[in-house]
Subunit: 222 residues, 2 copies
DNA sequence: ACCTGAACACCGTTCAAGT
DNA sequence: ACCTGAACACCGTTCAAGT
């Protein structure tokens, strides 16, 4: 990451707050109260300073969020033992990324703001691309394969997080429930057939089996 | 959709603005200036009314956005000719959903707010689930398969839209470019190998071939 | 029933000035 | 160099009142 406030050699006034203070206080607010409560004003208040002081250490709020994501990843993404089989290695590395994101729902705000998660996740990306190459893909195909896995993973997190947030906030029946209640079985026979099982089915966590399907599909020679 | 302002039978003051006015004005603002510019205040001003008048016709801003998505889908999602082969049918239906979303980047705001796109997209979901069943999946597997396709599709849109927004707004080199510039080839040999091709590779549109891979993977008997 | 005006409780960020 | 105070230009939404 860029370091606009890397420790200068003495001249000028000593800093009262540091990037590290900002990150730590930001992390506390986000984990305890959610990313919606993280505002520059609130952060400044908690840190005992003014909103504008923050702008001396971070460019803007988006940079702050990326910093917090980096901090989160560095703090939690421990490298797991990976299986020798390259296909399994791809699956386990992708599942590890997914697991880290799933424990950190506020991440969605930043996901949509940057395409590569964090330097701390780079090792996992390496494992995925390398595993795909070892399975016989060209490096180019492997990059595209990684991208498909990343889209699937990010999409799962974004959609599931949104669904959970809605459930938490809402009393009213979801749009989905309304739609499935009034489904015309002549026009939508298959959906009508599964209508009453839709909610339990889609709340099942099948991330891993579908991830395997995707990886298997990517590895079919073509 | 719920219709809190369905036409009442005469009593009371005649409405000066209608749900339809709100949707049309909202659509104009969003398509001409982007979803960020759509505020209740701005919409009220354009419609020649006050912010609070809007709250008589929509519950809140989120409902307004869902209404706009519905309107967009009903207006643009024409049912295409579908191939007879069920596997191809799944691919074409999913690609049609993707194409509609890709032409409408502001959708991301609403995607994260509701899990099922719109009643207008229901026919496409039916085709996907039905195609998967015809290929031999159980209805339950087909629903999970649809979900995986939806995650992949939504993830692609979310990430690509975010990347485009960043490119449009930013001069500074992306985080990604910085990371790939300083990549340690000993620690990340595979990424170092593709580092200089990463940007062109990941800007290629491979949605369709990866979608096929996913569908093929979902259809492998297991 | 439908709409208005004023207010509440906020935002991110810029600017000019202070130490 | 680092921080402050005041201000700019906004938000979504509630409330009480008007017609």
């Amino acid at each position: 990451m860029s370091q606009p406030s890397a420790p200068r050699k003495t001249p000028g006034r000593p800093a009262r707050i540091s990037r590290q203070d900002i990150i730590e206080t930001g992390r506390r607010i986000v984990t305890e109260e959610g990313v919606d409560r993280l505002t520059m004003r609130r952060l400044a208040k908690d840190i005992g300073s003014t909103p504008m002081a923050l702008y001396h250490h971070v460019r803007d709020k988006e940079e702050l969020l990326v910093l917090l994501l980096d901090d989160y990843a560095a703090r939690t993404m421990r490298r797991p033992e990976l299986p020798a089989d390259p296909r399994e290695r791809v699956v386990v590395a992708a599942a590890a990324i997914h697991g880290a994101l799933a424990d950190c729902p506020w991440i969605v705000e930043v996901l949509t703001a940057d395409d590569l998660m964090s330097t701390s996740a780079l090792w996992f990306v390496e494992q995925i691309v390398d595993g795909l190459v070892e399975c016989g893909l060209t490096p180019e195909q492997a990059v595209h394969g990684y991208r498909a896995i990343w889209y699937y993973t990010a999409g799962e997190i974004v959609i599931r997080t949104a669904a959970a947030r809605r459930r938490a906030a809402d009393e009213r029946p979801t749009y989905r429930e309304q739609v499935f209640g009034e489904l015309d079985p002549d026009e939508y026979p298959r959906l009508a057939q599964v209508a009453d099982r839709w909610a339990p089915l889609t709340s099942q966590d099948t991330f891993l089996v579908q991830l395997r399907a995707l990886v298997d599909g990517l590895l079919i020679p073509r």
